[in-house]
Amino acid sequence: MITKEKIDNFIEKIPPAPKALKETLLHLGSGDLVKAANAAKEDKALSTYLKVLVNKPIYGFRNEVSDVSQIFGILGVSRSQQAVYNYMMTLLSPSKWVLFKLTRVLFYNLQADLSINWQKILNFLNIEDKEILSSISLLPASIIVSEALFCEKKADVELLRSVNPIDLNSVLQRLCNMDLFDICEQIANKWEMPIEVSKIIQAASGMKPSEDVKVNELGKWMHLLLFYTLSQPKYIDAELNDFIDFQIDYVSDIYDDFSQLMEIS
C-alpha cells in the first residue's frame, strides 16, 4: 500500500523554504521586526496568508489588520515566527483534499485554533520561548503527510479499518518502519526548523515519550490539545478525529490542569 520509496519520494519533493521566508525567519530570529516585515512583504502569498490568519475571529482583533509591519508589530517576535511557520506548512498542503474532508479555509482554522490554544498553554506553564511557541506549527504536518501518502488509497484504508481498528500511524509503522511523526521530523530538518521543534512533535505523537522531562511535558500538552481540537464537530466531519490514536494514559496526569485552563465542565 505504502512503500519506503513512496515516503522517500514525498520527502524529496518537499521544496526548500523560499528565500524571502528564510530572510523573514532570520530577522525574526534576531528580533528585528522591521527587517522581517520588509522581507515578508517580498512574498505576496505570505503577506496574504498573514492577513487572513490574524483577522480570524479567534485572534480577537477588533479592526482589520492589513499591513505586514502592523501584523508583526501586534503579534511580536514569537507569534510572528509561529505565523510564518504556519504559512510554510500551508505550502505543503494539497490544493484538493481527498482522504480528509478538509478545505483550505478549514485547514487555516485548524492552524489558528491550535496556535492560539498552544499560546494559552505556554502562558499557563510560564514558558516564553519562541521556538517552543512555533513548534505547534509543525503538528498539522502529520495531517498533510497522511493526506499525501494515503489519498490514493482511501478505499483501501476504509476497508482495512472496517475489519481492524488500526490508525494511519500504525499502518505506516508496520509497512515501512517509519511513522507520520518521523516524516514530520524530516520536514522540519529540511526546513531548518530548530531541533527542539522536532523533539516536541515526536513526543506529541503520544507513542514516543521523551527522556527530556520538559519536552515530554510539552508533548503531553500538545497531544491533548490536538485531540481537544480534533473533537470539534467541524474536524470530526472532516474525518480527522481518528487518523492517529489518542493515548489517554499518556496525558492523564495533566488532564485536570488542561480542563481547568480550557474551562471544560
Partner: protein, 464 residues
C-alpha cells in the same frame, strides 16, 4: 464513524472529547442505519480513548442503542469504563439504564454468545442483588463458572487471592440482553443461538439464505445453542426437521446443545433425531472434543445433488474477482503480483505441504465462492499488517486470514456494486491444510488463476 465487527461483536471507538455537538458529528444517521444493517450480536461503544464526556455526548450513542436493539434484538452497551466513567454514566441515566455497561471489552465478550473463551472462572460482584443473579445466569448459560461475592468485603477478600480467577467482574451492569438468532463461527462450526419459545416465527427470523450459502461454502456443522429455549411447538419442529433433511444433501450435521424437554413433548426429540439432528447436553461435549469436531465439521462434497457450473456472468466479472484479491494482497504485503496462468478446470494444487487456504462465498445478483490458497509464509506476511508483528502461531494466522479474506469480500462487493451488481458475502472459512480444502472442491469446476508474489506461488480459484 462505523463499528468494527469481529466475531459478531461490533465496537465503536470514539476518541477525545465527547459532548453533544461531537456526539452527533461522530454518529450520523447513515452510521446508525449501517450499524442496524450489520446485524451484529452485540454493539459496544468503547470509552477507552474518551477523556471527557457528558450526557449529551452519550445520548447520540444511546439513541443508536435503542434503534439497533429494537430492529435486531442486539445486546448494546458501553465498555472500557473506569470507576469514574461508570459512576458518571449510572448517574446520568439513573432511571433509564436500558443498555449494558461493561468494565472492559473482555468482560463484554463473556456475555456475548462466543465460546472461544469458554469455561472461565469468573468472580463477580455488584451491589445490586438482581444484577448479581442476572450476570451469574448469563455467564453460566455461556459456559463459564461464575462465583458470586455476596458482599463487598467478601469480594475484596476473594479478589485479593492471586490467580484464583480468570476474570474479575465489577462495575458491570446488564441492561436488556439481546434475543436473536445469532451466528458465529468456531472451529469451522457455525453456531446459531435461539431463545425462549420456538414457533412458526423461526421461519422468519432464521436467515435461510445465509445458511444455504454457508453450506455451499463448505460449512458442514451447524450447532443450535438451545440453552435458553423454553419450549418448541410443532411449527418449529417442522422447520428444524426440514432444515436437517435439506442439509443432508451436503452431508451437513445439525446439533442441538442444551435443549431441555421439560416443556416440550418428548416425542419431538425422537422426530428431530429421526431427521438426523444430534443432541448434546453441553457445548463442551462438541467444541472440546477435537476428534468429534473434526469428524462432524469435515468438509465433504459427497452427495451434492446440484452441481453448479460457472456461468457467463461470473466469467465476465472474473477480472473484478481477481482484482479484488490481488489488490488486497498487494496492499497487505507491499509486493506486486504477476499472473502466471489461467485455466478453467478442476482445482490443481502442485504442492500440498506448507499451504493454508480460505474461502468466502457471495450471493445475491451473482453467487459463487472464491478460494485462496496461500503458502504459509505469504499468509504470515499478509497478516503482519493486521497483527502488528511476525508470528509463528498458525491459529492466529488463520484467524487473521479470515479478516483478510473479509477485506477481499468487501472489496469485491464494492467493485461489483460499481457495476450495479449487488452481492452479500458469507463468513470466511479457513482451512489449516490443503487436504481439507480438496475434499470440498476437488469435484468442482472453476477458474484457476496462478499468481506469484515475489516468486511465491499463490492460487486463486473461483467456483460455484
Amino acid at each position: 464513524m462505523r463499528a468494527v465487527i469481529k466475531n459478531g461483536i461490533g465496537v465503536f471507538s470514539p476518541q477525545g472529547f465527547l459532548d453533544g455537538a461531537s456526539g452527533i458529528a461522530i454518529l450520523s444517521i447513515e452510521d446508525i442505519e449501517a450499524t442496524t444493517a450489520q446485524n451484529a450480536d452485540m454493539i459496544l461503544v468503547s470509552l477507552k480513548r474518551v477523556i471527557f464526556f457528558n450526557r449529551n455526548g452519550l445520548d447520540a450513542f444511546v439513541k443508536m442503542f435503542h434503534k439497533v436493539r429494537t430492529a435486531n434484538h442486539t445486546t448494546v452497551g458501553f465498555c472500557d469504563l473506569d470507576t469514574k466513567k461508570y459512576d458518571a454514566i449510572t448517574n446520568f441515566y439513573k432511571n433509564d439504564l436500558s443498555f449494558s455497561l461493561f468494565r472492559t471489552q473482555e468482560i463484554a465478550t463473556l456475555f456475548a454468545t462466543s465460546y472461544k473463551n469458554q469455561n472461565k472462572n469468573v468472580l463477580l460482584y455488584s451491589d445490586d442483588k438482581s444484577q448479581r443473579s442476572a450476570m451469574a445466569i448469563e455467564l453460566h448459560d455461556n459456559g463459564h463458572n461464575p462465583i458470586i461475592a455476596q458482599s463487598e468485603s467478601e469480594f475484596n477478600k476473594k479478589a485479593a487471592v492471586q490467580d484464583a480467577y480468570d476474570i474479575i467482574i465489577t462495575e458491570t451492569y446488564l441492561g436488556q440482553m439481546g434475543q436473536k438468532v445469532a451466528t458465529r463461527v468456531t472451529g469451522n462450526a457455525i453456531i446459531y443461538t435461539v431463545n425462549s419459545f420456538l414457533d412458526a416465527e423461526i421461519g422468519n427470523t432464521f436467515n435461510i439464505e445465509y445458511h444455504n450459502n454457508s453450506l455451499n461454502v463448505g460449512f458442514r456443522l451447524f450447532i443450535f445453542d438451545t440453552y435458553k429455549v423454553v419450549s418448541m411447538n410443532i411449527h418449529a419442529l417442522n422447520f428444524f426437521s426440514k432444515l436437517s433433511t435439506a442439509g443432508a444433501e451436503y452431508n451437513a450435521t445439525i446439533c442441538f446443545v442444551g435443549m431441555s424437554f421439560d416443556k416440550t413433548p418428548k416425542a419431538f426429540k425422537e422426530t428431530l433425531e429421526d431427521s438426523g439432528i444430534i443432541f448434546f447436553d453441553q457445548m463442551d461435549d462438541i467444541l472440546q472434543n477435537k476428534e468429534l469436531l473434526k469428524e462432524l465439521g469435515a468438509s465433504s462434497a459427497a452427495n451434492i445433488k446440484n452441481k453448479r457450473l460457472l456461468n457467463k456472468t461470473t466469467v465476465t466479472e472474473l477480472p473484478n474477482f481477481i482484482d479484488a484479491t490481488v489488490a488486497t494482497i498487494e496492499m497487505m504485503t507491499n509486493s506486486s503480483a504477476i499472473k502466471d496462468a489461467v485455466q478453467i478446470n478442476n482445482i490443481v494444487i502442485d504442492e500440498i505441504e506448507g499451504k493454508i487456504a480460505s474461502s468466502i462465498g457471495y450471493y445475491g445478483d451473482l453467487d459463487g465462492m472464491i478460494i485462496l490458497v496461500f503458502p504459509l509464509n505469504i499468509a504470515k506476511k499478509a497478516c503482519e499488517l493486521l497483527i502488528g508483528e511476525a508470528t509463528e502461531d498458525t491459529e492466529l494466522v488463520l484467524d487473521t486470514l479470515a479478516e483478510l479474506v473479509n477485506i477481499v469480500g468487501g472489496k469485491l462487493k464494492t467493485l461489483l456494486g460499481d457495476e450495479d451488481i449487488s452481492v452479500d458475502i458469507t463468513l470466511p472459512r479457513t482451512y489449516p491444510d490443503v487436504t481439507s480444502l480438496l475434499e470440498i472442491v476437488q469435484d468442482k469446476k472453476g477458474v484457476q488463476v496462478d499468481l506469484s508474489f515475489n516468486d511465491d506461488k499463490f492460487l486463486f480459484f473461483l467456483t460455484r
